[in-house]
C-alpha cells in the first residue's frame, strides 16, 4: 500500500468515536499533568496504565500517546505564566515566554506555543508516516547480534542526555541492568536473586520502579520545602491569544526549523523533547539577526522550542514502532502497555498490526488538532488549576500511585516495592544520580541479555560475531564514539553548559 492509503487506513481507525474520545481524554489529562509541576508524563502514564486495561490495544496506546504529547504542551503554559516549567522540555520556553507575559503579551506567547506545537505535530506526523515503513523493513534484517549492539547504543546514548557526570550515568545503566536480571532467566528458567520470594519470580516490574523513582521520590523531595509557600501566578486577564501578522512573520521560520530539528532529535535513542527544545533555542539564537533580544521576550524563543519539543515527542515513536526499542522512559512504558495488550512492538508490527500502527500515527495528528481546540479556550482553567496548593495535591498523587501500582497485579508486594524505590530515588537525587538511564536499562536489560545469549548460540560462542556483521559494527562504533565524545573535555563542558543553561 502507498503512503496515502496507509494514512487513510490509519484515519479510518483513529477517527472512530471511541478513539476520538480516548485521544481527547489523553491530551486533556496530559495537558493537566503538564500544567501541574511535580508529576511528569512518565509517572502519569505509569499511573494511568491500569485505566487502559479495559480498552483494546489501539485505544489504549492512542490515549497514552495523547498524555505524552499533551504534557509537552501543558508544560509550556506554566513556563509562560508562572516561570515554572511543568516539564523539563519547557524549561527553555520560560526564558522568553515569561518575559513576554511580563510585558503583557502572555496571550500571543500562549497562542504561538499552541500553533507552533500544532504545525510541528503535523510535520512530525508526516515524517513518521514517511520514515517508519522503510526503517521497519531495514530492521527486519536485524538478527540477535544487531539487536544486542543497538540496545548497547541506546543505553550509551542515554548518558548523553543526563546532566553532570557520564560516569554516574553509566553506573545507573549497569545498576538498571542488574535490576533487570532479577527473576527467572528467560531462556533457562533458573531463578536469580529471588531469595524464595514468589513475587520476584517474574522479575521486578518496571512500573513500581518508575512510580517510585519519579512519583514518590519527587514528593519526598518536595516535602523538604515548605508546603504553604505560594506561587507568583500571572493574575492579569489573558487577552489576544491569536498572534499578529508580525508575530507570525517572526515565528514561522523557527517553527519549521524547530519541527525538523525536534523530529530528528526525537528519533535518536536516548534523545527526546528536552534535548530538542534546547537545540532549537540554540539554533534560533544563532540564526537570528537580533540575538540580544533572546531572553528578553523574543517570540522566536517560544515558537522554535515549543515546535521542537512537540515534534520530538512524536519522533520518539520511530524507534519504538519500527525497532521495538524505546528511546526514553515514556516510550518504555508504551512498550509495556503494548505487551500487556498482547502486541509485540518491533519491525513486524507494521505488517502484523497495521491498524494499530497507522491508527496510532494518525491519532497524533488528531491529538494535535484537539490540543489546539482544547488549549486556547481552556487556558484560564489551567491558570486556576495552578493555584491548587501542593498540600492538597500530594496526598492525591500518592493515593493514585498506591492504588495504581496495586491494581496492576493486585499485589501488596508491589506497593512495598514502589515505596522502596521511592526511597532509593530520593537518595539518588541527593547524591546527584539521575534515574532516567536506569529506567531505560531495566527495560532493555532482558532484551540485551536475551540477544547476547542468542547471538552466542548462533555463532557457536564466537565473540567476533558482533564485529563481523556491518550493521552491528556501526552500532557498536557509534556507542564507542558516544563515550569517547563525552570524555573530550570541550564537548563535555558544552553539554553541561547546554543542559544547565
Amino acid at each position: 500500500m502507498g503512503f496515502w492509503e496507509n494514512l487513510l487506513q490509519g484515519f479510518a481507525v483513529s477517527l472512530t468515536a471511541f478513539n476520538i474520545w480516548c485521544c481527547f481524554a489523553g491530551v486533556l489529562v496530559g495537558t493537566l499533568v503538564g500544567v501541574l509541576p511535580g508529576l511528569g508524563p512518565t509517572a502519569t502514564i505509569a499511573l494511568l496504565l491500569p485505566l487502559t486495561f479495559k480498552q483494546d490495544a489501539i485505544s489504549a496506546i492512542i490515549m497514552l500517546a495523547g498524555i505524552y504529547y499533551g504534557a509537552q504542551y501543558g508544560g509550556s503554559t506554566t513556563s509562560i505564566l508562572v516561570n515554572i516549567p511543568g516539564e523539563a522540555s519547557s524549561v527553555v520556553t520560560a526564558l522568553d515566554g515569561y518575559q513576554m507575559a511580563r510585558q503583557g503579551r502572555a496571550g500571543p506567547a500562549l497562542g504561538i506555543a499552541a500553533f507552533g506545537s500544532f504545525i510541528a505535530g503535523t510535520v512530525a506526523t508526516f515524517g513518521l508516516a514517511l520514515l517508519a515503513p522503510p526503517m521497519a523493513s531495514v530492521a527486519l534484517k536485524f538478527g540477535p547480534p544487531e539487536y544486542f549492539s543497538l540496545v548497547c547504543l541506546g543505553l550509551v546514548a542515554a548518558t548523553f542526555l543526563t546532566q553532570g557526570s557520564m560516569l554516574k550515568s553509566l553506573i545507573m545503566i549497569v545498576f538498571g541492568l542488574m535490576l533487570g536480571t532479577v527473576g527467572r532467566d528467560m531462556v533457562t528458567g533458573y531463578p536469580r536473586f529471588t531469595y524464595g520470594v514468589y513475587d520476584l519470580e517474574d522479575g521486578i516490574g518496571f512500573i513500581p520502579i518508575i512510580m517510585g523513582v519519579f512519583g514518590i521520590a519527587e514528593i519526598l523531595s518536595n516535602l523538604e520545602s515548605s508546603l504553604t509557600g505560594g506561587k507568583d501566578i500571572y493574575e492579569k486577564r489573558i487577552t489576544g491569544l491569536l498572534p499578529s501578522l508580525k508575530d507570525w512573520a517572526l515565528s514561522i521560520g523557527p517553527i519549521l526549523r524547530g519541527s525538523v530539528v525536534g523530529f530528528f532529535l526525537g528519533t535518536l535513542p536516548g534523545g527526546g523533547a528536552v534535548l530538542a527544545s534546547f537545540a532549537s533555542y540554540t539554533v534560533e539564537k544563532k540564526v537570528s539577526k537580533d540575538p540580544q533580544s533572546f531572553g528578553k521576550g523574543a517570540i522566536q524563543g517560544v515558537a522554535g522550542p515549543e515546535a521542537a519539543n512537540n515534534a520530538a515527542s512524536q519522533g520518539a515513536f520511530i524507534p519504538l514502532l519500527t525497532l521495538g526499542i524505546p528511546s526514553n522512559a515514556v516510550m518504555a512504558l508504551l512498550v509495556g502497555a503494548l505487551m500487556i495488550h498482547g502486541v509485540q512492538p518491533g519491525p513486524q508490527m507494521i505488517t502484523k498490526n497495521p491498524a494499530l500502527f497507522w491508527g496510532v500515527i494518525t491519532s497524533m495528528y488528531l491529538g494535535n488538532i484537539l490540543l489546539l481546540i482544547l488549549n486556547l479556550p481552556l487556558i484560564r482553567l489551567w491558570v486556576q488549576i495552578l493555584k491548587i496548593p501542593y498540600r492538597i495535591l500530594f496526598p492525591l498523587i500518592l493515593m493514585f500511585c498506591l492504588i495504581g501500582v496495586y491494581s496492576l497485579n493486585n499485589s501488596i508486594f508491589e506497593i512495598y516495592l514502589m515505596g522502596g524505590f521511592g526511597i532509593l530515588g530520593y537518595i539518588f537525587k541527593k547524591l546527584d544520580f539521575e534515574p532516567a538511564p536506569m529506567i531505560l536499562a531495566v527495560i532493555l536489560g532482558p532484551m540485551l541479555e536475551d540477544n547476547l545469549k542468542h547471538a552466542m548460540l548462533i555463532s557457536s560462542g564466537d565473540l567476533t560475531v558482533f564485529f563481523s556483521r556491518p550493521i552491528s559494527v556501526v552500532f557498536l562504533g557509534l556507542s564507542f564514539l558516544c563515550v569517547l565524545f563525552q570524555m573530550i573535555p570541550a564537548i563535555r563542558h558544552s553539554k553541561d553548559v547546554a543542559l544547565k543553561e
Partner: protein
C-alpha cells in the same frame, strides 16, 4: 560533591561485590551456551570497576569538604513513608475503603494541621472517587476488610 561521591562509590562497590558473589553461585555455562549467572556476573564486575573509577576521581577532591546532603526536614518524609508502608500493611485487614480514607485523611491533616473539616471532606471525596474509578469502573478486586467493602 566529592564526599557524597566517595560514599556512593563505597556503597556501590559493596553492592557489586555482594551481587557478584551471588551471581557466581548460578550456572555460568560457556560462551556457546551462556548460563544464567554469566550476565549478572559481568554486570557485577562492570559496576565494581565503575565504582572504583568514581572513588578514584573523587578522592583527590576530598578537601572540598562540602556538606553531606542530609534531608532538611525529616518529619514529612518519614511521615509519608510510614503512611505508605502502613497502607500496604493494613490494606487487607482494614479493607480498601477504610484504608484509603485513613491514608488520605492523615496526609491532608499533615498539610492542614489546624483544620479538621477540610481533611475529613477531602478524604471522603478521595475515597469515593477512587472507589468509583478503580472498583466500579475498572472492577479491580480490592480487599474488603472489616467493613465488608
Amino acid at each position: 560533591m566529592s564526599r557524597k561521591d566517595i560514599f556512593s562509590a563505597v556503597v556501590l562497590l559493596i553492592f557489586a561485590l555482594a551481587f557478584g558473589i551471588q551471581a557466581s553461585m548460578y550456572p555460568q555455562g560457556d560462551l556457546k551456551r551462556v548460563g544464567s549467572g554469566f550476565f549478572p556476573l559481568v554486570l557485577a564486575v562492570l559496576l565494581g570497576f565503575l565504582s572504583l573509577l568514581l572513588l578514584f576521581v573523587s578522592l583527590p577532591r576530598r578537601q572540598e569538604k562540602r556538606e553531606f546532603p542530609w534531608p532538611q526536614q525529616w518529619g514529612g518524609i518519614v511521615g509519608v513513608l510510614v503512611a505508605l508502608f502502613a497502607y500496604g500493611f493494613f490494606l487487607k485487614s482494614l479493607g480498601f475503603s477504610l484504608a484509603t480514607f485513613l491514608f488520605s485523611f492523615g496526609l491532608l491533616k499533615y498539610g492542614y494541621p489546624e483544620k479538621w473539616l477540610l481533611p475529613f471532606g477531602g478524604a471522603l471525596a478521595t475515597t469515593f472517587f477512587c472507589l468509583l474509578i478503580f472498583k466500579v469502573w475498572l472492577g479491580t478486586p480490592f480487599p474488603t476488610g472489616v467493613l465488608g467493602y
